[in-house]
């Protein structure tokens, strides 16, 4: 027997959460653009099966812009005020498995040499309800990096669209169980995800090539078309680099944490004017090495979930998948 919930029941569950003061994040459709947004009313949410989203759920755990503390001059002193704790319950619903899978990958990073309370509090307070994929497109390659259209990693509950206005609910954690407790009914129906995307390259093999070919001229040639815009990093569910800056005036202001991207020249520009990653090829090599070599070596997890958001967003038709394919060709030469 399986547990199912109708769309109406799902909306009621979320509606009750909103009423209780919880923050609910769901896919919202604005014209043709679908993005994850905090909603004020469940009717704003759109639960149609969808491959492409304008953003990932990352920003609800690691916001694009976040205040760390504020400062104000008081006479000869400076008064510092910590940013408030994140102490509201958060339900993120409608995540794709490749979005949710990014969270356990990022967890060790934000709890490594520095305990990032901002990320950790959001994680602790959040319940992630994921929809198993019903379709994939040519950009998808989750199957190449250990994922799947019904991957459970990072999710508290995994829902399967039964196509009749109801979902099979598989609760995976206590948080998931608590959210759907008493909300589901028993059924003989069972959901299934779409077939895994087909890939014809071996990521481990390519990672080995990346490690051994730091000085390959291929980095420069494959990166010629990259304009260094960084859109790939900003839509990526796992890219997590940030910049810390002070904003405001001499008298008062705040220290903030802002998303950053290794694809931009400024990222490594030294005060002397020297840039150790002075070309787009070097920046692309950094991105791929970090995702497939250094991060796995350090945290035992590949920093890519195969979601394909980078190549969908890239104005130059580049991104991780085309890059992996180009490197694979080079490796097999």
């Amino acid at each position: 027997m399986s547990q199912i919930v109708t769309l109406e029941q799902l909306k009621q569950t979320l509606g009750a959460k909103l009423k209780s003061g919880a923050r609910v994040v769901a896919p919202v459709l604005d014209g043709e653009l679908a993005s994850f947004k905090e909603i004020a009313d469940v009717e704003q949410a759109s639960f149609e099966p969808r491959v492409c989203m304008q953003n990932s759920i990352k920003e609800f755990f690691f916001p694009k812009h976040e205040t760390l503390f504020t400062f104000a001059r008081k006479g000869n002193d400076v008064e510092l005020t910590d940013a408030p704790d994140f102490d509201v319950e958060q339900i993120v619903v409608g995540a794709r498995p490749c979005d949710a899978a990014a969270l356990p990958i990022l967890d060790p990073l934000f709890a490594w040499d520095y305990q990032d309370r901002f990320y950790q509090q959001r994680r602790a307070k959040s319940t992630v309800v994921t929809f198993a994929c019903t379709k994939s497109d040519a950009h998808c390659f989750c199957s190449a990096v250990g994922g799947a259209p019904d991957n459970t990693s990072g999710s508290d509950a995994l829902l399967f669209d039964l196509g009749d206005g109801s979902f099979e609910v598989r609760t995976l954690t206590d948080k998931g169980k608590a959210l759907f407790d008493g909300k589901t009914s028993e059924s003989t129906k069972s959901g299934a995800a779409c077939p895994a995307p087909v890939v014809d390259f071996d990521v481990k093999g390519i990672a080995g090539w990346i490690k051994d070919n730091f000085s390959s001229p291929v980095w420069e040639t494959i990166s010629l078309r990259c304009v260094g815009c960084g859109a790939c990093a900003f839509v990526c569910p796992t890219c997590h680099c940030f910049d810390i800056v002070d904003e405001g005036s001499y008298h008062k202001g705040r220290r903030v944490k802002n998303w950053d991207s290794c694809q931009e020249a400024m990222f490594t520009l030294h005060a002397s004017g020297h840039n150790p990653r002075g070309t787009q090829g070097k920046r692309q090599r950094q991105r791929m090495s970090h995702k497939f070599v250094t991060y796995p070596e350090k945290f035992n997890a590949c920093l890519c979930t195969g979601c394909g958001s980078c190549s969908r967003a890239c104005p130059a038709s580049f991104g991780v998948r085309p890059c992996l394919e180009a490197l694979n060709q080079e490796k097999n030469k």
């Binding site: 812009h65 040519a138 950009h139 010629l224």
Partner: protein
């Protein structure tokens, strides 16, 4: 037309008129079109020309990695060609050291969120009057077809496509319009894809990257996002050619082309100036005429 293009580029490479040809090829996921850099005449068959050639390749002309490849030939649509004119007029490129290969463009199609053809033309194409690229060295395609398309668009060029969308925005109350842009800018992640995709955003150090002192907030807060997007639009006033590369590149789907069109309209209405129309024209912001209107000074 594709063959005509390939033959022209092959000849340029074989005769060593140029060292590299910047054109379109099927390089992305599922054969998506992106820039390719052909140096060997035997590789010209990789070049394609079709309604998916969305990018403005002129963005590559000022990049050091591309300049290092030597003298270039570049494939351009009508709108892209205007960007090259501005680059030359602003002395960013040596026009005599570049071979501009224009194509007759019947319009480029929008892409869906996953890069497939959406089956509709970009708004900019609905008002296009340069189906045959101007100020080029070689033109590929049927000029009479281009002239017919220009003629078809001409009567409505000022009130269709982006102009129509802009007119709707301008008809809003100030509050409504502010809310519209607030919603748009709230999505901005400050990736600077707009800047990086723009052929005319060639500053070595963008004002957004200046940090001694910081000129505008780098935060993707509403304040920072308003500052950045408005600043960029103003910096492109009288310079933007309306190719729409910024809006196409924006991962947040912000209608940046409308912002730029507002200022392009102002340049035309107030000063009769259309950026990129005339090779050798003085930049609008860098020149004046005794007949310039002064009623903007209050």
């Amino acid at each position: 037309m594709e063959n005509q293009l390939r033959n022209a580029i092959r000849k340029l490479l074989e005769e060593k008129t140029v060292d590299v040809a910047i054109g379109y090829g099927r390089v992305g996921v599922g054969g998506a079109v992106g820039a390719i850099f052909v140096t060997n005449p035997n590789d010209v068959d990789r070049l394609v020309w079709n309604s998916e050639c969305r990018q403005n390749l002129a963005v590559h002309l000022t990049r050091p990695e591309i300049k290092a490849l030597g003298k270039a030939a570049i494939v351009v649509k009508g709108c892209d060609a205007r960007a090259i004119v501005v680059l030359a007029n602003e002395e960013q490129i040596d026009r005599s050291n570049l071979v501009v290969v224009g194509v007759v463009c019947e319009g480029v199609e929008k892409a869906t969120a996953n890069g497939e053809n959406a089956g509709v033309l970009y708004e900019k194409c609905l008002s296009c009057l340069e189906h045959a690229a101007k100020n080029v060295d070689i033109l590929i395609g049927d000029e009479s077809k281009a002239a017919a398309l220009d003629e078809k668009n001409a009567p409505n060029a000022k009130n269709v496509g982006n102009q129509e969308k802009l007119a709707k925005l301008r008809a809003m109350s100030t509050d409504e319009r502010f809310n519209y842009w607030r919603d748009q800018f709230s999505r901005c992640v400050r990736c600077y894809a707009c800047r990086q995709s723009c052929p005319l955003c060639y500053c070595n150090r963008c004002v957004a990257d200046k940090n001694r002192p910081t000129r505008i907030d780098t935060s993707a807060s509403l304040k920072g996002n308003f500052a950045w997007n408005i600043l960029r639009a103003f910096h492109l006033a009288g310079r933007c050619v309306g190719c729409g590369a910024c809006a196409t590149a924006c991962p947040a789907g912000i209608e940046l082309d409308l912002l730029n069109l507002t200022l392009a309209n102002a340049a035309e209405d107030q000063f009769g100036y259309v950026a990129g129309k005339e090779l050798g024209a003085a930049p609008l912001i860098g020149s004046y005429a005794p007949t310039d209107k002064e009623d903007f000074i209050r």
